[in-house]
């Protein structure tokens, strides 16, 4: 007996990844990122004398690949439902013996996988190419690598939810504001519970902590961030499901 995931979700994930990977905008972004990393990596060949310069390059590279991964995730997730509705491809999809939530989960998972693939495929060359001349905490690196996939999960869920509430342009603008700017927004309400209610993928970014050589978060601090990411993702997906199930197509 094939599971619902194998039968209903996985084919949608595969098709979405395939389609998204062939689009020029994603390819251009990926080529741009690889070119930029090549330039940064050349520092190893030329050689760096000042350790601070190495740290700056490492910080810049990691910031760029994380930013790129979030941008790809956001772009892929934001176009899914509006494109399906505009091109009317949602009809033959939903004419199969599947639930609407399967489509939603498949689209979300595909956007996550696109971002994750870009992140890890660029992280490895950065790790190998950019010189590390100062002391960096391995524990912080592990936390960075475990929190980043969670941050991408949140980033994929945000535009998926917003495109079910608002027109595509507005949804995209709001999603960019949340994904890139939520950290600045919540500073105005510091100490208020809202800080944990607003989905904030930037809060899970440990790059600065890592490149500044700061010790890892406590286990409870790390767990709180993991739980917050799960809470944001689950809430957004559940709300999206409610909206999508009720929607007349």
């Amino acid at each position: 007996m094939r599971s619902a995931f194998h039968m209903a979700v996985w084919p949608i994930v595969r098709a979405t990844v395939l389609e998204a990977a062939r689009r020029k905008d994603i390819a251009v972004l990926a080529i741009f990122m690889v070119a930029l990393l090549f330039v940064l990596g050349s520092a190893r060949v030329v050689g760096l004398e000042r350790p601070a310069a190495g740290t700056f390059l490492l910080n810049l590279s990691l910031t760029l690949i994380i930013g790129g991964a979030h941008l790809v995730t956001l772009l892929v997730a934001a176009r899914q439902i509006p494109d399906e509705i505009e091109q009317r491809t949602l009809y033959p999809l939903l004419a199969r013996p599947i639930h609407r939530s399967h489509v939603l989960i498949g689209k979300w998972l595909a956007a996550c996988l696109m971002g994750l693939a870009l992140f890890f495929s660029l992280f490895i060359p950065v790790w190998l190419l950019v010189p590390r001349l100062e002391h960096y905490e391995t524990g912080t690196l592990i936390q960075l690598l475990t929190l980043q996939p969670m941050a991408l999960m949140v980033t994929a869920a945000v535009p998926l939810f917003l495109t079910l509430c608002f027109p595509r342009g507005l949804a995209m603008a709001l999603a960019l504001l949340i994904v890139l700017g939520a950290d600045y927004l919540v500073r105005f309400v510091d100490g208020f519970p809202l800080i944990w209610l607003v989905p904030n993928p930037s809060r899970l970014n440990m790059v600065l902590r890592y490149t500044d050589g700061i010790a890892p978060l406590s286990f409870w601090g790390w767990s709180a961030l993991m739980l917050a990411a799960l809470f944001w993702t689950a809430s957004l997906l559940l709300l999206s499901r409610q909206l999508f199930e009720r929607r007349a197509l």
Binding site: R2, M7, A8, W10, P11, I12, R14, A15, L18, E19, R22, R23, Q87, R88, T89, Y91, P92, L93, L94, A95, R96, P97, I98, H99, A248, L249
Partner: protein, 247 residues
Amino acid sequence: MAKPIEIEELSVSYGRGRKRQRVVHDVTFSIESGECVGFIGVNGAGKSTTIKALMGFIYADAGRASMFGNDAGHPDGRRQVGYLPEVALYYPFMRAEELLALYGALSGMTRAQLRTRIPEVLQLVGLAGRGRDLLREFSKGMQQRLGIAQALIAEPSLLVLDEVSAGLDPMGRFELRELLKKLHQAGKTIFFSSHELSEVESLCDRVILIDQGRIKKEVTQSELKQIGSEQSLESFFIEAIRGAVAS
């Protein structure tokens, strides 16, 4: 045994608040297994809306639509259904065979089944050898043929086809008619909406005429033949819509 399609006093509205407008009013009909039924009416008559409500894409205000005994929208009802939407621009960056593999997999087909079935359906709809082509290279007519292929991929026992011949050239329409005839002879239940009266005349066991969201008339094949011998089918339907024909 449950009928492939049963619609009872179905009413559907669009819009919200003051702008809410009822577009389908108390529509009732059913389709028996093995029947080929045409659903005809002018633009905006409510054909596509009725079909969308049947497929569970939109929700009814009142009444019931079911397929094989399952309420509209329930996945089990769609297990034996092949559906062609009115217009669809399939994913431009996918290949034809990838698209069919996607829909086949979602219908529960295995990879081995798909390997043999995909070339078969592409052959059936006249797209043999085009499986590796990207869909952005497909013309409107080819997209429609592909749409028919995706509806047939899982060998459904019921076909629901919305504006089946839209975008096809005369040759394409002829080939489609022949294909639908073959499928009907093979025992498939077919329910399709169309503007093409010649299609309806040559294929259907029964025709349901809808106008302004209400069923105006149901005509059997023998009645169709009789009408055809006395007057043109076109003038008969125009009169039916205008209410000149006594029901």
